[in-house]
């Protein structure tokens, strides 16, 4: 019988041995290099920071082993809804590491950064075309920062028109960053109840639309994976009341080349390059969250804006109405290179095909699983489907249990308990990069778990048993937080 290897259980500090080292630094080649002679004493650390003392082989082996404790898209199907865990092309990595990109200082003279600026300018233009927006800022570091930028531009827009509006409407199905970003921008959030399938409740919307409302913020397709059909009506209703409409573009992977936020009437839309445009997630970032806007919001774009003047690219700082800066420099350029490489690789037909296949794959899963799990909404879905484990829950098996069991069966888990409006939600986003074979294996596993819930819930409750650690005590972690390593005496 096969047996699991004992898991590796070290923290780098535990490999430390006094005097060991992995660094390679030249000796000083300049005269008079004693820091004690160069710096006032009070600025020199009294004692060395307690950092690891390890060799290069220690480092390589430790982090190689740690990596083996992770599931990644490169090794596992990762059906994490809302996250678009598609395959991250390797050529993008090579391109982002080209010397002229990776080693370029952000404050290098503009004349010596023309290639980087051109890439940004073209990418912004391409994202504008893809989204049907008029202009795009590449500066936001992730989706949530794109939201903040977008909402701040809306705020500035109203203020510039002399209007003080204080609330933003957000459906209860929204991602947590939507209300959080909105609050950060100084608005009060009014939560709208969605219809059961995540559609906007038009009556409720109508009721809430007034002069205090600055914006309505929705996700399209919505977080149940459905396209909001009455979108034109919605954007018109809002505009009629002077309300700006914000689209959370996290689900853009569903609609590339099929429909465009700008054409639907949205005023603002952010992108997640780390979702739709293949930049890797890296265990939680870096991402990149460009924000697109219609022309009336252009004066408020974050500074600086990349512009092209007579074939020369430049950073334009002279934007008196700008909301200002979001991060110190121009955006997560390394991610921009990857997204640019991806868009150039795919071309217009390729991008459309991405969405078509993403939709096909999600519907295939939906079809194969609808007998065993409850659907959250009728009809076809877009690029993801949300199932409910409420049937399994009655048998004592929760969405979380199902997630854990999937880990044992060789899959990462779907998103669970999101959107909040679906009980025991299992949000499954396969992406276009997965094959039917993989989807079938996953569906077989899901169906097996549905059977086990009926006949052998113990196996599910015990899961995972094949991972380096088994279920972890979250309560203990929160009650007695241990947030850093300390030597045991």
């Amino acid at each position: 019988m096969h047996v699991a290897k004992p898991a590796y259980d070290k923290v780098i500090f535990e490999l430390s041995s006094p005097g060991r080292f992995a660094y390679s630094l030249p000796e000083s080649d300049v005269p008079d290099s004693d820091p004690a002679a160069l710096l006032p004493k009070e600025h020199l650390r009294a004692s060395a920071a307690d950092l690891p003392e390890v060799s290069e082989v220690d480092v390589i082996r430790h982090y190689s082993r740690l990596s083996q404790m992770n599931y990644g898209v490169d090794t596992h199907f990762y059906p994490l809804g809302s996250c678009t865990m598609k395959y991250n092309p390797k050529i993008n990595e090579d391109m982002a590491r080209l010397g002229g990109f990776a080693w370029l200082h952000p404050l290098a003279p503009e004349a010596a950064s023309q290639g980087a600026l051109q890439l940004m300018w073209e990418l912004a233009r391409d994202l504008a075309e893809i989204s049907g927006m008029d202009e795009v800022s590449l500066q936001p570091a992730a989706g949530a920062q794109g939201e903040l930028a977008g909402v701040l531009m809306i705020r500035a827009y109203h203020l510039a028109r002399g209007e003080r509006r204080h609330t933003v409407l957000i459906p209860d199905s929204a991602h947590g960053t939507n209300p959080a970003s909105t609050a950060l921008a100084g608005f009060s959030v009014v939560e709208l109840k969605s219809e059961a399938n995540g559609d906007v409740d038009l009556v409720d919307l109508e009721r809430h639309l007034d002069e205090d409302v600055a914006a309505f913020m929705i996700t399209q397709p919505n977080t149940l994976g459905l396209f909001e059909s009455r979108i034109h009506q919605i954007t018109e209703m809002c505009h009629a009341k002077g309300v700006q409409v914000y689209m959370d573009g996290a689900n853009l992977n569903a609609i590339l080349g099929i429909t465009r936020p700008g054409d639907l009437g949205f005023d603002v839309c952010h992108f997640n390059l780390h979702k739709t445009f293949t930049t890797p997630h890296g265990g939680g970032g870096p991402g990149s969250g460009p924000v697109g806007i219609k022309a009336h919001l252009a004066p408020f774009l974050p500074t600086p804006v990349v512009v092209k003047r007579d074939d020369v690219f430049a950073l334009d700082w002279n934007r008196p109405q700008s909301i200002g800066k979001l991060q110190a420099f121009w955006g997560n350029f390394g991610m921009l290179v990857r997204a640019y490489a991806y868009i150039r690789t795919m071309g217009p037909d390729g991008l459309r095909s991405v969405s078509e296949n993403a939709v096909l794959n999600a519907n295939y899963i939906l079809k194969r699983l609808e007998g065993d799990y409850d659907r959250s909404a009728p009809g076809p879905c877009m690029h993801e489907c949300v199932l409910s484990a409420r049937r399994q829950k009655k048998l004592g098996v929760s969405a979380m249990d199902i997630a854990k069991r999937l880990l044992d069966l060789g899959f990462y888990a779907p998103s669970t308990y999101f959107p909040l409006i679906v009980e025991e939600a299992l949000m499954i986003e396969p992406t276009e990069t997965e094959s039917k074979e993989t989807l079938d294996q996953f569906c077989d596993a899901m169906i097996q778990i549905a059977r086990e819930a009926e006949t052998d819930p113990h196996t599910i409750h015990e899961a995972p048993v094949t991972t380096p650690v088994r279920r972890l005590d979250q309560t203990l972690a929160a009650r007695q937080p241990i947030l850093r390593w300390r030597p045991t005496k």
Binding site: E42, E56, L264, A341, G347
Partner: protein
């Protein structure tokens, strides 16, 4: 399409299972008038060889520090990046994993973040650090919001020694909550302590300084901490952790929150991003911190394991009441920093500081031997210093580019008062030869 796995035969088969005849049938909820009736107006698909040719050309138009001697700083630094970092972070299991929501399948990421938190806490001299914020500037902005929420006060007192780009980001972030900013002028290269004392009041949520500051000078953190604390304000110190192997950690001088840009810890400059926002604080502030935190715990078998913890601070649970809107952060950059600190270690990180100090001071000595070239301030500096030039810095920069020298950051764009100034950064990577070449070229340029 090489990134799309299903063949057209499979697509047909799947449509059959679904019970529709085309993908169009799945898009029925998208009304006709919403449909894009034409192909996207984008360049058509490029083959890999063409793409490489094109991007190599674009990259070739840029003056990278790989083939230029880079004396640029002001928030991004050309420190040496040990080779193992890229090899390790490129492993797909790290690179292509999501935020560790399923901890059992993410122990690699979780453990490395736990290590990262420990290292940052050590370096800054603080109790706890989070798993990262986007960059140093947004990290500072988050810190000011946190100071506001902790103190319930509305005014931020910010030294003009803080990177002006950072101050701009703070301005953006405090627009929503409507906080007020009071700027404190510099004396001779460092925050004017008397002016600061006057600026601080019982409305001050925080005093913000940078150490070493934007101009490279070393602030008297301890004195400023006392002023802040007397007024009941928190002291936020912006500090680059790569310097803290040698310099006194702000935590030891009384900082309540330390933020900063961690790019120097093994992250490529990459035209300014992605970066690594470092965020550390005192223990008692932990439940007000923005961003993710990883904590140690045990599994059902009693084995040590790691999880995301104290999540009730975060947007996915607390929504509009969250401590921050941050979700995706810069975990991979934190991993780079973790590996960097592991490699440099206790002695190496100190040595990076020592070499940077030595070379910066050598450079300052050599450059100021040139007639008309002077240090702008007399305050002690660390690895970066401000020169006053007898000729336009922009012209000098252009001239030195010909010798593959990136001479420094001209300060005119930040403040017209410094229009004759050049900010010069010298890391451990610069050689005496490069510095001497710089001196020679500068002498010629200003002659």
């Amino acid at each position: 399409m090489r990134y799309i796995s299903n063949t057209s035969a499979q697509q047909k088969e799947m449509l059959g299972v679904i019970g529709v005849s085309s993908i169009e049938d799945l898009l029925v909820r998208i009304p006709a008038k919403a449909r894009l009736a034409r192909p996207l107006a984008l360049p058509s698909a490029m083959a890999e060889t063409d793409l490489i040719r094109h991007l190599r050309r674009l990259a070739g138009l840029n003056a990278g520090a790989d083939d230029h001697a880079c004396f640029l700083g002001a928030g991004s630094y050309d420190h040496a990046i040990p080779s193992p970092i890229n090899h390790l972070i490129s492993r797909g299991e790290f690179f292509t994993a999501y935020t560790p929501y399923q901890p059992e399948a993410s122990q690699g990421t979780l453990r490395s973040i736990f290590e990262y938190q420990t290292m940052i806490a050590e370096l800054t001299g603080m109790d706890v650090a989070n798993a990262s914020i986007y960059d140093g500037a947004s990290s500072l902005a988050e810190a000011t919001l946190m100071a506001h929420s902790v103190t319930g006060r509305d005014t931020l007192v910010i030294s003009r020694g803080v990177n002006p780009l950072y101050r701009q980001v703070v301005e953006t972030y405090v627009e929503g909550p409507g906080l007020k900013i009071k700027s404190v002028a510099l004396g001779d290269g460092v925050t004017d302590v008397d002016a600061l004392r006057k600026a601080v009041s019982k409305h001050s949520a925080t005093v913000v300084i940078q150490y070493p500051n934007f101009f490279g000078s070393l602030e008297d953190v301890r004195a400023i901490a006392d002023i802040a604390h007397e007024a009941g304000a928190l002291l936020i110190v912006v500090a680059d952790p790569v310097n803290l192997g040698l310099l006194t950690p702000p935590g030891a001088s009384g900082a309540d929150i330390v933020v900063g840009e961690g790019q120097g810890l093994g992250v490529p400059m990459s035209f300014g991003g992605p970066n690594l926002g470092v965020f550390a604080a005192k223990q008692e502030l932990v439940r007000r911190m923005p961003g993710r935190l990883v904590g140690a715990t045990v599994d059902v078998d009693g084995q040590r394991g790691f999880v995301l913890t104290l999540q009730t601070r975060e947007q996915h649970i607390r929504r509009e009441k969250a401590t921050s809107n941050i979700c995706t952060n810069v975990a991979l950059c934190a991993l780079m920093a973790t590996i960097y600190v592991s490699i440099l270690g206790k002695r190496g990180l100190r040595k990076v500081g020592e070499l940077s100090t030595a070379k910066a001071h050598y450079a300052a000595r050599e450059l100021t031997k040139i007639p008309g070239v002077r240090l702008r301030f007399t305050a002690p500096f660390f690895k970066e210093f401000t020169l006053r030039l007898p000729k336009s810095p922009e012209r000098v920069i252009k001239r030195l580019m010909k010798d593959r020298l990136l001479a420094g950051v001209p300060l005119k764009g930040f403040d017209r008062a410094y229009k004759d100034c050049l900010l010069v950064a010298v890391t451990e990577k610069r050689t005496k030869d490069e510095i001497d070449a710089y001196a020679a070229a500068l002498a010629a340029a200003v002659a």
